[in-house]
Structures are given as structure tokens and as C-alpha cells.
């Protein structure tokens, strides 16, 4: 049962990521795209955890931690650029 659930959940996340991709490509505004990218990152975390569960390994854990911890850096710098143009003032 759990495996089926895992597969379904993976499917849900995959679908979610495709929707993010749609927004990323569609825009229309720049923050939209940044947001979509950010969400892609967030969903990736779940994806990694799920794949880990599915494969019974913890090898993806570090990647998940790093994305969770630093995944927003891209969003921050991009937003900062939109706001100020100069990201390091």
C-alpha cells in the first residue's frame, strides 16, 4: 500500500512541478517566473524525500537539506535585483 501511495504522491508532485514549469515559461511577469522557480525548488525537496523513501536510501537527504536551507537564495538575489538592480550594495 505504502508504495502505491508513494507513487501517487510522486505523481502529484510531478504534476505540481509541471504546473510550475508552465508558469515559469508562461510568465507573464518576472516575479511570476521567479516564484515558479522557487516553487520548483520547494517541490523538489519533497520529490527527493519521496524518491529516498521509495528507494529506501538516505542518500538524497543532504541535497534536500541544502535546497531547503539555500534554495531561496536564488529567489532572494533575483528579487533583490528586481527591486534595486544592484544586488550587493
Amino acid at each position: 500500500m505504502i508504495e502505491t501511495c508513494l507513487d501517487i504522491t510522486l505523481g502529484l508532485f510531478a504534476l505540481a512541478m509541471l504546473l510550475n514549469l508552465f508558469r515559469l515559461l508562461r510568465g507573464p511577469t518576472l516575479p511570476d517566473r521567479i516564484l515558479a522557480l522557487d516553487t520548483l525548488y520547494v517541490n523538489t525537496i519533497a520529490l527527493l524525500v519521496l524518491v529516498g523513501l521509495r528507494q529506501g536510501s538516505t542518500i538524497h537527504f543532504e541535497a534536500a537539506v541544502v535546497i531547503a536551507m539555500l534554495g531561496f537564495v536564488g529567489t532572494v538575489v533575483l528579487s533583490k535585483f528586481v527591486i534595486r538592480r544592484d544586488i550587493i550594495e
Binding site: 520529490l47 536564488g74 532572494v76 533575483l78
Partner: protein, 920 residues
């Protein structure tokens, strides 16, 4: 002794070259020492030469090439060496008084001795390659001599022309002698000269002959290369006297004589050499009549006499060779004296233009007399040496064997040239010493200084002596030289003034009469002074060089148009060609595929879609950058799914820093790319891109569906027992292939330093400035600062366990750098660097030091560099802790990566706009 003979001029040239400009007398004395000492040495060497055995010496230089400093003094070389030294000595004496105060005497004599040495080397060389060496040296040193008065444009041009023509010949000679050496099996002259029949029979003979003759004809100013010689008259007169009488131009005919045994004997040789010689003889002597410059007249006369000598060698009969050698000597003596006389006239009157000269005999009778005698020798008047060799020439001209046309042609040419020779000699004498004039001369010409006249006197005396008593004076010399060329085939000949009333004498007399008639006829019938010849050869040469240079310039500019697009496009195309060529001949069956894991398609879709979007959006840079973030994510995910967690982590982190860097750069770049005007180019590039992409994909597919037998199997097996780590990737990075990593962190550190070097103190105008003070961004700031210590913990964790699980120095370094980047972004450079200021370049240095020194540690234990050592240290309470040298190495990586990244970001962030104050 032979070496000493050769070395003297060079050593003295060097010594003189180092003298200061004011030491004129010293320079002259030293310069005079060279020919004198040389002649003494030569005299000491004479007995063996005259006895026919010659002198040889050999010093190895480049034995693998068969190139040796092999010297060889036989009769021919001896005669030429004597000429070079004797006339050289007279020239030095003459030049001592000729050169004015403005001319740097040390420089002049340095060049002159260089030239003398080169000529000597050429004649005594016993190795073909060595001969080519000295041949080129004569070209170069004559270039310097002709261009001695380099403030004058005619001197510069003349020098360059001479160098271009004779230098070309020299390279041809090199080719020719290499061919000869190949045929004969050695470059040693003795071997080559003995291999005559072999050479004639070789299929390479025409090529070798052609190359050698090219050298001969260019050097000896034979038609159609004769035009450089008159332009070389821009040289100081001593130079002309030396180069165009005894040495430079004689080098060509010397070579002809030298290689005569090896090359002569074929119809090709006969027709080409004698034909060219005859044409040159006529062309030169005809042009000489119409020159107005004394030196120009003498130059063309030189050309014609060299044509005569060439013709004689072309005829190839032993007697002709003897006649050629004889004429070489005779021409050297009378022509050198004439040039010197011309120099005296120039010196005294300030002009060499015969249209302004005249009547000088009254003013300087002594010089006049000498010049007149020399011109008569040139004209071939009996009792002078010119007559004797001319007579021999006529004799030979009548005995030409071969084609009918050739026989009559040569005879006719001989008579005609004789007449022309008389005509221009007359013109010289008449226009210079007699008749009205001199005109428009500022000073009153008078006899030159005593010492300046002596060389002329000496030479004229020689002319007379040889002309009157040849058997007592020149016969042994000639005989020795002829033996050097012909060996035992020296014919019996007699050097007498009177051979009876024979056809050659008739020809001589007819020529004399015709020449006199011709001169006065021309003078009466046409306005001789009105004719002005522009040298066609020179015009063609200049036109050609100018055209060639312009064309080369255009071609270069067309190829190298400064367009990076073209350069990169060509590289891609080259790669396409090289990648595709092997498949033209072969086809490859695809191997089996594995099934796609379900998530694979997701990653594929994200990656492909985002890539295409990046390309589609590339003009809107910021958008493209965001979309490209998804490409990076897809790549990382692909790594993760395909069992490469380290790679995924690295890619993710690098992605973040890259985006930050690109944004930092984008601040100083336009937001959008303009549309490129050329639609064609875009389509073309798209086609190239598709081909590249398709090709790569096909090749990748072909490669990865094939089985692989890799060394990695062993690495997996050895990682834990030998490398002490379970994360094989990390073991490879810090141990098995740790040397790569050492290089890699060097690259990284240097990149940081470059950014530092390029942005320090630089002011750049941002593309657009947002007004107002920056928002403090309080909320993100607090979070980021809270995150920092936690991130540090994660970073350390990833670092410490990298050897066994995903992580390691590089990843950890970035995990340290990225949260720091956040601090920079949210708090600004000044804030961060005031509180956490590191001297990043120094930290990079320390990191490199850690990596380097760790590796060096194994030297102490007697192992190769970077051999890893692991030890367990017992610590109370904690038990045994591993202490691996690989870990220390990784510390270096960690430091360099963190410091390098922060240095880049910090520098990029601290660029100021022009006019802005720091901290503003």
C-alpha cells in the same frame, strides 16, 4: 690556420662594432689589420695550394644534419680569397679617406669586415650548407652596407631590394644544396664535386640546378634580376667598389665555378646558363651607354661583364672556364679602380651626373689618367688586361658547339657587346674628363688626398702589368684557380698578347671601331642627355611588392575581421567536420537502452522546455536567467536520479552562486540584447546549432549504449581499503586523482584573484540606478543572520563526512559561501566586510598551502607526492579518531573555494559608479 683566416674579419668586426663612434682612427686601423693579416695567412697557405693538394680543416657543428664547419682552400678558393682580401685592403684604405665626419666609421668598418668575412667564408667553405650559410651572410651584410646611408630613401630601398632579391636566391640555394646533398649523400664539397655523373643522372637534377642557378643569377645580377644592382649604387662608393667588382656579385659566378664539376655537362646547363649570360651581357652593356650617373654606368657595365662570365661558364668548355676565371680577376681590378675613381670625382665635385661633369682632366689630370687607363681596360683595348680575357672569350664564342642559332647568337652577342662596351667606356671618359664642364659645381675640384689615390694606382698598375706581361704576373694564379675548378682537365693555353692575326683579333678590332662609331653616332644623332631611363625591373618589383603587401593586408583583414562570432563559429564547424568525418565511412548500430524511470520524463520535460525557453528568451536577459535556473535544477535532478548525489549538490550550489554573479554583472550590462540585423546569420547559426546538438546527441547515444570496461572497477574496490573512504567520488577527488583537485583549486583561486585584479579600484557605470536609499530589508536580514550559524554547522558537517558520504571540501566551501553571499546581498558589502573582513587572497594562499603541504608530507615517509596516510589517534573519552591526510588536503579545498567565491562576490559587489563615494 684556415680557421684563423676566416675568424679574423669577424673578430675584428665585433671589436670595431663595440667601439664608440668617435674612435674613427682605431676603427680604420683595426679594419686595415684584417685584410693585411688575412693576406699574410693566405700567403703562408699558398705553397700547398699551388702544389695542388689544397688545405682542409673540419670542425663538427651539427653532425646529425651533416653540417660541419668544413673549410677547404683549393686554387679557386685561394684566388678568390686573394681577391677578396687584396681589394678589401685597398677599399679600407680608400674608405678611410672617403667617409665624412657624419658617417660612423666604426659602424661602416664593422659591416665591411662582416661582409669580407662572409665572402671569405663563402669561398673557403668546404661544405655545401656552410656555403649557403655564408652566402646568406653576404646578403645580410651587403644589406647593411648598401643601406649605410639610411637617412636616404634610395639607400633604404636599394638595400631592401638587394636583400629581397639576393635573400630569395639564398633560400633557393639552400634548397638546391640540400637536394644536391641528398643526391650525393653528403654535403661535403669533395664528395659532391666527385658525384657529378650521379647528379646529372638524378631525376632531381633539374630542380637542383634550377634552385642553384636562381641563387647564381640573383646574386650576380643576371637577367631578369639585374635591376637590383644599379639601385645598390646608393651605397657609399667604397661599398660599391667592393661589392660590385670583386665580391658580392662575384659570389654568383664563384658558385657557378665552384659547382661547375657537379652541375655542368648537361644541355640544360649549357643553354640556360649561356643563354642568360648572353642576354645579360647585351642588356647590361646596352643600358650602360645611356646612364648619366657614373656609378649607374659602371653598374650596368658590371652587369654586362658578369653576363660575360656567366656565358663563359655556360659554355662549359675547359678553355671557357679558364677565360671566365681570368675575366673575374680582370674585371675585379679595373672595375674596382673605376668605382674608386668615380668616388673621387663625386667627392671632389659633389656630383656623379655626367651631364654636369666634363673637362675634369684639366683639373685632376692624375686621377683622370688613371681612370682613363682603367676604362680602356674595361673596353678591352690591347695592352690592358681586359683585352686578354676578351680575346679568350671571342675565341670561345667562335667554338661554341650546339644549336646553330646558339653558335651564331653567341658570336654575334660577343661582337655587339664588345662594341657596346667600347661605347660606354668612351662615354665615361668623354663626358667626364673632356668636353665642356664641369657645370654648376660649387667647389673647385682638385686631386684627392695622396692616400685616397693609392688604391686606384695600385689597381691600374695591376691592369697594366697583367695586360702587358700576363705570363709573369697572372699565369700561376690563373692556373691554380683553373685547377681548382677543372682538376686535371686544365687545358693548355697561352697568355700572350699576340696570337697572330686571327678571327678573335679581327672581332676585337671590329668591336673597337664599331664602338667608337656607335658612341659618336649616338651622340650626334640623338640627344643622349635627354634620355632618361627608369628601370623597368625596379618598377615591376616595387609594384609587385606593394601589390602583394596590399593584397596580403586585405586578405588578413578579411580573414581576421575581429569577429568573435566568426571565430567561435569556425571552431564549432571544425568540430562538426572532425566529428562527422569518421562516420562517412562507417555506420554504427545503436545498442540497447534501459527503460526510463517514471520521474525521468519529468526531469527531461523540465530540462528541455527550460532550455528551449532560455534560448527563446535570451534577448530578455533577466528572464532567460530565471528560466535557466530551471535548467540547472533539471540537471541537478538528473544527477540525483542517476546516482550522483555529490554532483547534484555541487551543481545546485554552483547554480546559486552563478546566478548571483550573473545578476551582479547584469547591473553593468544592457537589460536586453538588440535584435541582430541579419536574419540569414540567425538561420545559419540555428542550422549549425542543430547540427552540433544532433551530432552530440547521436554520439552520446552511440557511446552510452555500448558496454564499458573501465578502470573505475578497481577504484571501487580499492576505495575503502586503500583510500580509507566509502564515498568513492570523494576518495577519487582527494586521493586517487587528488592532483586534479590541486589544479582545480588553483584555477578557482586564480579566478578569484583575476576578479580581484580586474575590479579593484575600478569604477563602472551601472546600466540603471534605482533611486532612493536601499531598503534595509529587515525581515530577510534577520532570518539570514539566524540562518548563518546553522548553515555553518551544515557546512562543517558536509565537510567532515565528505570522505564517506556525499559532501567534501568543495561542497562544504560553497555551503559556507552561499549564506555569506546572502549576508552580502541583504546587508551590503561594507557591513559584512567591516565585521567579517578577511583578506581573501591570503586565505586562498593559505588554502593552497594546506593542500600543497599535505601532499608534501608523504615525501618525509619516502612516498610519492600526495600519498595519503590515515592514522587513528586515541583520544580519551572519545575513542579512536581517524586522522587522514586526505582530510587536511580537503581543508585546503574548503578554504580556497570559500575564499575564492567570497572574493568574487565581494569584488563584484563593491564596484562603485564613477563619482560615487565608497559606502554611498
Amino acid at each position: 690556420m684556415l680557421e684563423a683566416l676566416l675568424a679574423i674579419p669577424f673578430v675584428l668586426a665585433l671589436a670595431i662594432g663595440l667601439l664608440p663612434r668617435e674612435r674613427r682612427r682605431t676603427a680604420a686601423w683595426l679594419a686595415g689589420l684584417a685584410p693585411v693579416a688575412g693576406l699574410v695567412l693566405l700567403a703562408l697557405l699558398t705553397p700547398p695550394v699551388l702544389s695542388g693538394e689544397g688545405v682542409r680543416s673540419l670542425t663538427e657543428w651539427v653532425p646529425t644534419l651533416g653540417l660541419a664547419v668544413s673549410l677547404r682552400l683549393d686554387g679557386l678558393a685561394w684566388m678568390f680569397a686573394g681577391l677578396v682580401l687584396a681589394i678589401g685592403g685597398l677599399i679600407v684604405l680608400y674608405a678611410r679617406y672617403y667617409l665624412s665626419e657624419e658617417d660612423s666609421m666604426p659602424r661602416f668598418f664593422c659591416f665591411l669586415l662582416l661582409f669580407m668575412g662572409s665572402m671569405l667564408g663563402l669561398v673557403v667553405a668546404g661544405n655545401l650548407i656552410l656555403m649557403a650559410v655564408f652566402w646568406e651572410l653576404t646578403s645580410v651584410s651587403s644589406f647593411l652596407l648598401i643601406g649605410f646611408w639610411n637617412h636616404r630613401s634610395d639607400a633604404r630601398e636599394g638595400a631592401r631590394m638587394a636583400l629581397a632579391i639576393t635573400g630569395t636566391g639564398g633560400l633557393a640555394l639552400l634548397g638546391g644544396v640540400v637536394l644536391l646533398g641528398r643526391i650525393a649523400g653528403s654535403y661535403e664539397l669533395d664528395v659532391v664535386l666527385a658525384a657529378g655523373p650521379q647528379i646529372l643522372a638524378s631525376p632531381w637534377y633539374p630542380a637542383a640546378l634550377g634552385l642553384v642557378l636562381l641563387a647564381v643569377f640573383t646574386k650576380s645580377a643576371q637577367f631578369p634580376f639585374q635591376f637590383w644592382l644599379p639601385h645598390a649604387m646608393a651605397a657609399p662608393t667604397p661599398v660599391s667598389a667592393y661589392l660590385h667588382s670583386a665580391t658580392m656579385v662575384k659570389a654568383g659566378v664563384f658558385l657557378l665555378a665552384r659547382l661547375h664539376p657537379a652541375l655542368a655537362g648537361s644541355d640544360l646547363f649549357f643553354y640556360v646558363v649561356s643563354g642568360i649570360g648572353a642576354v645579360t651581357l647585351l642588356v647590361g652593356s646596352w643600358h650602360a651607354i645611356f646612364q648619366h650617373d657614373i656609378k649607374g654606368l659602371l653598374a650596368y657595365s658590371t652587369i654586362s661583364h658578369l653576363g660575360l662570365i656567366t656565358l663563359l661558364f655556360g659554355l662549359s668548355t675547359p678553355m671557357a672556364v679558364v677565360a671566365g676565371l681570368f675575366h673575374i680577376i680582370n674585371h675585379a681590378t679595373f672595375k674596382a679602380s673605376l668605382f674608386m675613381a668615380a668616388g673621387i670625382i663625386d667627392h671632389e665635385t659633389g656630383t656623379r651626373d655626367m651631364r654636369r661633369l666634363g673637362g675634369l682632366f684639366k683639373l685632376m689630370p692624375y686621377t683622370g689618367a688613371l681612370a682613363i687607363i682603367a676604362s680602356l681596360a674595361m673596353a678591352g683595348v690591347p695592352l690592358l688586361n681586359g683585352f686578354l680575357s676578351k680575346e679568350m672569350f671571342f675565341t670561345e664564342a667562335l667554338e661554341v658547339e650546339g644549336h646553330q642559332f646558339m653558335r651564331w647568337g653567341v658570336a654575334a652577342a660577343a661582337v655587339l657587346a664588345g662594341a657596346f662596351g667600347v661605347a660606354y667606356s668612351l662615354r665615361f671618359v668623354d663626358d667626364t674628363f673632356f668636353g665642356p664642364g664641369p657645370l654648376r659645381i660649387e667647389t673647385t675640384p682638385h686631386e684627392p688626398p695622396r692616400w685616397m689615390r693609392i688604391p686606384v694606382e695600385v689597381l691600374v698598375v695591376v691592369c697594366l702589368a697583367v695586360g702587358i706581361v700576363p705570363a709573369l704576373t697572372i699565369a700561376p694564379v690563373l692556373h691554380a684557380a683553373a685547377t681548382g675548378v677543372l682538376g686535371d682537365d686544365v687545358p693548355a693555353y697561352s697568355l700572350a698578347i699576340w696570337h697572330g692575326l686571327n678571327v678573335p683579333l679581327m672581332m676585337s678590332l671590329f668591336g673597337l671601331a664599331a664602338g667608337i662609331a656607335l658612341y659618336f653616332g649616338i651622340k650626334r644623332l640623338i640627344d643622349l642627355y635627354g634620355i632618361s631611363y627608369d628601370s623597368l625591373g625596379r618598377r615591376v618589383f616595387e609594384w609587385k611588392t606593394d601589390r602583394a603587401i596590399a593584397w596580403a593586408g586585405r586578405l588578413t583583414a578579411t580573414l581576421e575581421n575581429g569577429s568573435l562570432q566568426r571565430y567561435l563559429g569556425l571552431m564549432v564547424l571544425a568540430a562538426l567536420v572532425m566529428g562527422a568525418t569518421p562516420f562517412l565511412a562507417a555506420s554504427l548500430s545503436p545498442g540497447g537502452s534501459q527503460p526510463m524511470p517514471p520521474l525521468g520524463w519529468l526531469v527531461w520535460a523540465v530540462g528541455v522546455a527550460a532550455t528551449l525557453a532560455t534560448v527563446a528568451l535570451h534577448r530578455h536577459r533577466l528572464l532567460a536567467l530565471v528560466v535557466m535556473g530551471a535548467v540547472g535544477l533539471a540537471v541537478s535532478l538528473a544527477f540525483l536520479l542517476l546516482s550522483a548525489p555529490d554532483l547534484a549538490l555541487t551543481q545546485l550550489l554552483v547554480e546559486m552562486v552563478t546566478i548571483a554573479l550573473m545578476l551582479l554583472a547584469l547591473n553593468y550590462l544592457p537589460e536586453e540584447s538588440p535584435v541582430e540585423r541579419s536574419r540569414l546569420r540567425r538561420w545559419r547559426d540555428a542550422a549549425i546549432a542543430l547540427a552540433a546538438g544532433g551530432g552530440t546527441a547521436a554520439l552520446v547515444h552511440a557511446a552510452i549504449t555500448r558496454p564499458l570496461d573501465t578502470v573505475a572497477t578497481e577504484m571501487l574496490a580499492l576505495s575503502l581499503p586503500e583510500g580509507g573512504g566509502t564515498n568513492v567520488v570523494n576518495v577519487i577527488l582527494v586521493d586517487i586523482r587528488g592532483f586534479d583537485t590541486l589544479g582545480e583549486i588553483t584555477v578557482f583561486g586564480v579566478a578569484g584573484l583575476i576578479v580581484h585584479a580586474l575590479l579593484r579600484h575600478v569604477r563602472l557605470r551601472p546600466e540603471r540606478v534605482v533611486d532612493g536609499t536601499p531598503d534595509p530589508l529587515l525581515i530577510p536580514n534577520l532570518v539570514a543572520r539566524l540562518l548563518l550559524p546553522l548553515a555553518l554547522a551544515v557546512s562543517l558537517y558536509l565537510f567532515l563526512r565528505g570522505h564517506n558520504l556525499p559532501g567534501g571540501g568543495f561542497i562544504a566551501g560553497l555551503v559556507l559561501a552561499v549564506p555569506m553571499l546572502l549576508q552580502y546581498v541583504l546587508s551590503g558589502t561594507d557591513y559584512v566586510e567591516q565585521r567579517l573582513g578577511f583578506d581573501y587572497p591570503r586565505v586562498i594562499g593559505l588554502g593552497l598551502a594546506a593542500a600543497l603541504l599535505t601532499g608534501l608530507g608523504s615525501w618525509l615517509l619516502g612516498y610519492p607526492y600526495m600519498t595519503s596516510h590515515t592514522d587513528y589517534v586515541a583520544v580519551p573519552l572519545l575513542g579512536k579518531l581517524p586522522l587522514a591526510s586526505a582530510m587536511a588536503f580537503d581543508t585546503g579545498v574548503y578554504l580556497v573555494v570559500a575564499a575564492g567565491t567570497l572574493l568574487m562576490l565581494g569584488m563584484m559587489g563593491s564596484v562603485r559608479a564613477p563619482g560615487a563615494r565608497r559606502g554611498g
